[in-house]
């Protein structure tokens, strides 16, 4: 069995959100929710300021807290290691959401179930790439079998110094980052979901 994972090279991400949009389109993700997005983080003080672009998604953790928190068995691990949610078994008790340190799970009101990134298991089962990987114009995302030493992801992971998001959570993520500027600690307190509480309603005043 493969051990599917993703490597994200922060040196080449340009923050274009093509991945976010492709994911939204692929899964018809409701407004205000995200399976995949890009964090913009500024660091430093004028005139030495840097902006980092950090794509984030479910980490399909080896030791997934959502998996062990779900009382109905709706959160499952597929043979190739992806962690997915079976809609029919979910009663929206939200234990998985409470347990996930990455805030990667949201309530999909239309489907009546918790939802999150699946690594596009419907596409990868057909030998295609996840939608976000296909959409990335700079190839900053590499998807594949972490256990296959000849796969591009394994080669690039071996050739670079890779790290993970929120390593202290101890969940052993399968989304790896090439992060030479050490940007990931800047979003240590954040999650995949975006705080939309300050957004305007869009209705005329």
């Amino acid at each position: 069995m493969a051990r599917l994972g993703m490597l994200i090279d922060l040196r080449t991400c340009i923050g274009c959100h093509a991945c976010s949009v492709a994911c939204k389109a692929e899964f018809d993700v409701p407004l205000g929710n995200f399976r995949d997005t890009v964090k913009y983080v500024e660091e430093g003080a004028y005139p030495k300021v840097t902006r980092h672009f950090i794509p984030v998604l479910c980490n399909h953790c080896e030791d997934a807290p959502c998996l062990s928190a779900c009382p109905t068995g709706a959160v499952v691990r597929l043979d190739d290691g992806q962690v997915t949610i079976e809609d029919g078994d979910c009663n929206l008790n939200r234990a998985c959401m409470a347990a996930c340190p990455y805030d990667a799970i949201y309530v999909d009101e239309d489907r009546g179930a918790a939802a999150k990134c699946t690594f596009c298991d419907h596409r990868t089962a057909e030998g295609r790439q996840p939608a976000c990987v296909d959409a990335c114009p700079t190839n900053c995302r590499v998807f594949g079998d972490l256990d296959d030493p000849e796969s591009e992801i394994a080669v690039r992971a071996a050739a670079n110094d890779v790290t993970v998001w929120k390593e202290s959570a101890g969940t052993r993520p399968k989304v790896l980052y090439v992060d030479p500027k050490n940007a990931l600690p800047l979003i240590e307190e954040q999650g995949v979901q975006v705080d939309t509480t300050a957004d305007l309603s869009g209705e005329p005043a």
Binding site: C70, T72, N91, L92, A95, M97, A98, P101, G112
Partner: protein, 266 residues
Amino acid sequence: MTVAWGPLLAAYVVLVGLPTGLTLMTWWVGRSGASVRLERIGAWGALVALVAISVLLVADLGRPERFHLMLVRFDNLASPISWGAKLIALKILLLLLVVHAVERRRPPDRPLPRLTKVVAVLLLAVSFALALYPAALLARSWASPLAGGAGVLFVLTALLMGAAVVVLLGGEGRTALLGLLAASAVALAVEALALAGRPGDRLLLAELTTGGSAPLFWGVAVGAGLLLPAAGLLTLPRNRVVTALCAVAVLAGAAATRYLLFAVGS
């Protein structure tokens, strides 16, 4: 970060102490020759409260019609909610058996049959598990970091709630109440000591003692919930009105403590 559990779950964490404490305290107070009235009210009270709380839990689900999945699925026993749902269902069943036995016996002060006593022992074990359960539930949540090591506080506040109700019903729970108040004060102090170590924990402690939660903590949980009733019960032990007021204050304090364990840090 998204807060996954809202007011209904908070209400559950607070209120589930009531049936748990009522079962344990009516047994404790009545263990040396049960008061029939107290035994009956304790069984009925715990049953009604637990059923009402279960309705609350089901209503909190996004898909209430699928609540049964938590009872019939056994493939993930690592999930605290999986255990909690089954424990609540088991306790309701055991309470129904006890209520049935209590209502059927003639004359009313006749001792319960041996089989019912076995059921009652099982009921105590399940109640104790339910008293500890919120700590396990909330320990898995990134939004409730204060609750992770607070099993003792959850047990003590449940017992306080039960003892307060017993006192309000006219039972002899004053001594138990005083003992539990002392134990709770020690448990709170130890919890504060434990939180004073790591930087993240110190932030939580500051939120509790000097931050936004301080009025609820000092005013209700400590002041009204521990100090006032302790003073009242010690200085005016024979005054029924004061005792009843102390019991109400204890209920408020225990509820506030449980709420803070749920909410601080989220």
